[in-house]
């Protein structure tokens, strides 16, 4: 099972400090998720595409990944335009698709793809081990990071166990169909996997104790913050938040909203008294 498809590579994005990667990606994806117009997500998508080119990722793999992600979005295209209030755009039988609904789905599609590309380009280009190392530096609970690391480490091991058992049932002429026998077989297979994982984890823990495990992994290579890391981080955050500022004027709307709410509250209070 090959999990880290995009981590191999030699571009400057692959070499960025994983701590900076997290600190850049998290505010940026939330900024994109909060966008409401069409223009801002298009601009964000263009920025992400430029990053894809800079990181020299395998485009074929990237497109396959984007297709799977867009399956959920496809369902939104079928349903959302017809249940959104607004001006009619076209009609199929009794169903009326509204202009507002179509724009809304378009905005979701653009935002979703921009976020996915950004996650692949920035986080997908680091190995999971260095990402978990970065999470320790970012003060996440140690237990959670250890859990994540062990979880990741044993996926391939448990997958091998599963493949072995799957072969064993196939040799015995098992053909999955919609019947009770199939469900029972799968349930026992999963049960056996759980038992094997339970026994294996006990052996792992004992082995760790034998080697003097003290709740952390000593590491030789430490992170080194370079100028390019800081420059990249600051540039990305400025880009995504200025997209919001330019296209969305959320920043100007917030004070207006607060002002209106206060006026309404004051009005109510004066009427009550």
């Amino acid at each position: 099972m090959h999990l880290e498809e995009f981590a191999e590579g030699n571009s400057f994005i692959h070499k960025l400090d994983p701590r900076v990667k997290f600190l850049t990606v998290i505010p940026s994806v939330f900024a994109i998720a909060a966008m409401k117009t069409i223009a801002a997500p298009i601009a964000a998508l263009i920025v992400c595409l430029i990053l894809v080119i800079l990181s020299r990722l395998d485009l074929k793999k990237l497109i396959i990944r984007l297709i799977t992600v867009n399956v959920f979005i496809f369902f939104l295209w079928i349903f959302l335009p017809f249940s959104y209030p607004g001006e009619a755009f076209f009609q199929i039988g009794n169903l009326i698709a509204t202009k507002e609904g179509l724009l809304h789905v378009l905005s979701i599609t653009l935002k979703s793809n921009a976020i996915v590309l950004l996650t692949i380009v920035i986080l997908g280009t680091s190995e999971v081990f260095s990402l978990s190392h970065a999470l320790i530096h970012l003060k996440l609970p140690r237990k959670l990071v250890l859990l994540f690391f062990f979880f990741y480490r044993y996926i391939t091991v448990m997958h091998d166990e599963y493949v072995k058992m799957k072969k064993a049932i196939l040799i015995r002429c098992f053909k999955p169909k919609s019947n009770l026998h199939t469900y029972k077989t799968y349930a026992y297979l999963i049960g056996m996997l759980i038992i094997r994982s339970f026994e294996r984890s006990q052996r792992i823990y004992n082995a760790m104790l034998c080697r003097g495990f003290k709740n952390n992994f000593p590491i030789i290579s430490h992170f080194e913050l370079k100028k390019i890391d800081i420059a990249f981080g600051i540039a990305m955050i400025i880009i995504f938040f200025s997209l919001i500022a330019v296209f969305e004027n959320t920043f100007t709307q917030v004070p207006i909203w607060i002002y209106q709410k206060t006026l309404a509250l004051v009005g109510q209070a004066s009427r009550l008294s």
């Binding site: 994806v29 909060a34 959302l80 996650t119 999971v128 062990f150 169909k177 999963i190």
Partner: protein, 199 residues
């Protein structure tokens, strides 16, 4: 099915993230350092199990098994499911970083509910009670997950109402399959390795 990025409103995302943070904090408190390898390897097993596609009539569905996760892990289902979804967000971009809180809550809260409702019955009950409680924990786990998913979509906007109906309808056959598999699995575990279910 997970909710992808860019769909939910910031209010729903923040509420989901806060509730998940609370659940994860309780889970981590219950998870001592010596339990970490056990919870981790079990999480990898569930991750692999979720790749199995089970035929349901003409189509196939992948397993979720959050009811079973709840029965085996209790509150530790929160950190367990969180790391699995985090990995999916990093490597496959299924779900995502912004929706991590909401998606973890959708899957883990039903797991914890199933734990409180059925784990005692599974531990102490006879064969028939174990089967029934196992079935219910699988079915309730997925059913509530569908319900919570619908609620988070409705919390974003009324316009999702048709999709929510579809989501809930799609969860009904899955509830049946998950129930059956969880029931068989729980009986098997209780017979072969009773200490896993705490019996």
């Amino acid at each position: 099915m997970h909710i992808s990025e860019g769909v939910l409103s910031p209010a729903v995302l923040i509420a989901g993230a806060l509730l998940t943070a609370g659940g994860v904090a309780i889970g981590l408190k219950k998870m001592d350092y010596n339990k970490i390898p056990g919870v981790a390897v079990l999480s990898s097993t569930f991750f692999v199990a979720s790749l199995i596609h089970i035929p349901v009539g003409p189509v196939s569905s992948h397993l979720i098994l959050n009811g079973l996760v709840g029965i085996l892990l209790g509150w530790m289902a929160f950190p367990s499911i969180l790391v699995a979804l985090f990995l999916q967000a990093l490597l496959f971009q299924f779900g995502g970083l912004t929706t991590l809180g909401v998606n973890t809550l959708i899957m883990s809260a039903p797991a914890v509910i199933a734990f409180y409702l059925f784990s005692y019955l599974i531990k102490r009950g006879n064969n028939i009670i174990t089967i029934v409680a196992g079935f219910l924990s699988g079915a309730v786990g997925v059913g509530l997950a569908g319900l919570f998913m619908g609620l988070s979509l409705l919390g974003t906007g009324e316009e999702f109402v048709n999709i929510v109906k579809l989501v809930i309808a799609a969860h009904i056959p899955v509830m049946l399959i998950e129930g059956l598999i969880t029931a068989f699995c729980v009986v098997f575990l209780k017979r072969v390795k009773p200490e896993i279910v705490g019996a």
